[in-house]
Amino acid sequence: MPTTLAGYREKGILRRMATTPIPPSRLLLAQLAVGVLCAVASLVTVVAGVLAFGFEPPGLVVAALATFALGVLAIFAIGMLVAAVAPSTRVATGIGVSLFFLGIAFGGVFTPAETMPEFVLRVSDYTPVGAFMQALRASWGGDWPQPLHLAVPAVYALGCGLLAARLFRWE
């Protein structure tokens, strides 16, 4: 998403949009809607996996869905913030990729949370992907996630979303 919007900005597509009464928030929400649709598609894949190949379903489906929604919103909000301010597609890609790797490193994709050093784990609790992964694991195991692990993505979603709408540049 950041690359798309930064590309629009680079080519002056956003500038043309700026002459219409559309506020930046609406444009960002439209992009968010597209992103959420993609996320839902991946959710459908998981459901299909559960049904067709006998993946283990989440122990607490409501908690898993809530976690999923919050996590997706948090990640997209960060993407929107990058998209709002990145001056070019290259910068957008650079920032996006760095955040992606930082995210998965702290999120326990390379090493599971159990094997992380205590210090890294604490930092991970406050990163959106880290909190998201922990919450997802908890709900898969049949428990409600810790409040912190739900609050962190929620705060990221709200904060980055508002900041993105505020800092948005048309050109």
């Binding site: 597509i13 500038r15 043309r16 002459t19 219409t20 009464p21």
Partner: protein
């Protein structure tokens, strides 16, 4: 009714002064031309009018409100065609109009616009596959889709071939017939002469002239011009004494005489009397182009 009122507009980018005290008003239903060499401050001026930039100082009022103020609702009432504009490559013509129509509370019917601007056959054509003239027509249609009271057209025909340019002029005349006020930024004098009710010439960020195209030409350059060639070297003194003659310019074998009154008769009488043999004699009226060159001291591109 006054649609645009600009008073003492100033804008600088860092060290460079782009607009330096520009003032003008545009009345409802007018086609108002903004002319000037590249970098004269034309685009900056109209961008301040359309609210895309905020002026450093001076006042801008468009349809009674300040275009730079958030929530003035002005964007619903002003259509804009930017100097450089793009749409996503794969967006189709019909989709683009629907999309932009969705941005406005009371848009015109996109289908009717497609028909009116000769875009109906191109409805399913992606933006990247359109020719320059077709893109321009689409951008004009997009600037009108919100049903604006004022449209700003910035360098509408730059980069178009002569046919497409003339077609586009017809389109601008049709916008005017709708009663929409038009601000036209251009550096084609022929275009301004044909379309504009009044023109403002900007140079170096300042207004150097503001009048009707005819008034500007009459005020700036002598009303008549005669050009011819002679085989023998020509003595400018022969003609410069005549009271009809304002100037005589001899460049090699070419002679250019400007003046007023019965200039052609006065000049040809003298030439016949002196048995000067001339070729390629042409008499014409200087155009806005000549006035523009005289005003700005630069050649039009």
């Amino acid at each position: 009714m006054t649609v645009i009122e600009v008073r003492n507009l100033h804008k600088r980018y860092g060290e460079r002064v782009a607009v330096d005290g520009v003032s003008f008003t545009v009345e409802r239903g007018e086609v108002f031309g903004v002319l000037g060499p590249n970098g004269a401050g034309k685009t900056t001026t109209v961008e301040c009018v359309s609210g895309l930039r905020s002026p450093d100082s001076g006042t801008v009022r468009v349809l009674g409100s300040d275009p730079a103020a958030v929530g003035s609702g002005l964007r619903q009432r002003v259509g804009m065609q930017l100097q450089e504009s793009h749409l996503p490559d794969r967006l189709r013509v019909g989709e683009a109009l629907d999309l932009y129509a969705s941005c406005y509370p009371a848009p015109l019917d996109p289908r009717a616009l497609l028909d009116e601007w000769g875009l109906a056959d191109l409805r399913d054509r992606p933006f990247a596959k359109l020719s320059g003239g077709q893109k321009q027509r689409l951008f004009i249609a997009l600037s009108l889709v919100g049903g604006p009271e004022l449209v700003v057209l910035d360098e509408l025909t730059t980069g178009l071939d002569p046919h497409a340019r003339r077609d586009t002029w017809d389109l601008v005349e049709r916008i005017k017939e709708r009663g929409v006020t038009v601000v036209l930024v251009s550096h084609f004098m022929e275009e301004a002469e044909r379309l504009c009710d009044r023109v403002m010439v900007i140079d170096g960020g300042r207004v150097v002239a503001l009048d009707t195209p005819a008034g500007l030409t009459a005020r700036t350059v002598p009303p008549q011009r005669i050009r011819f060639r002679t085989s023998d070297p020509f003595d400018a003194e022969l003609l410069s004494g005549l009271h009809e003659v304002a100037s005589v310019t001899v460049t090699g074998s070419r002679v250019e005489v400007t003046g007023a009154g019965d200039l052609l008769h006065a000049v040809t009488s003298v030439l016949a009397g002196r048995h000067v043999v001339v070729a390629d004699l042409r008499a014409d009226r200087p155009t806005l182009d000549d006035a523009y060159v005289a005003l700005t001291g630069t050649r039009t591109p």
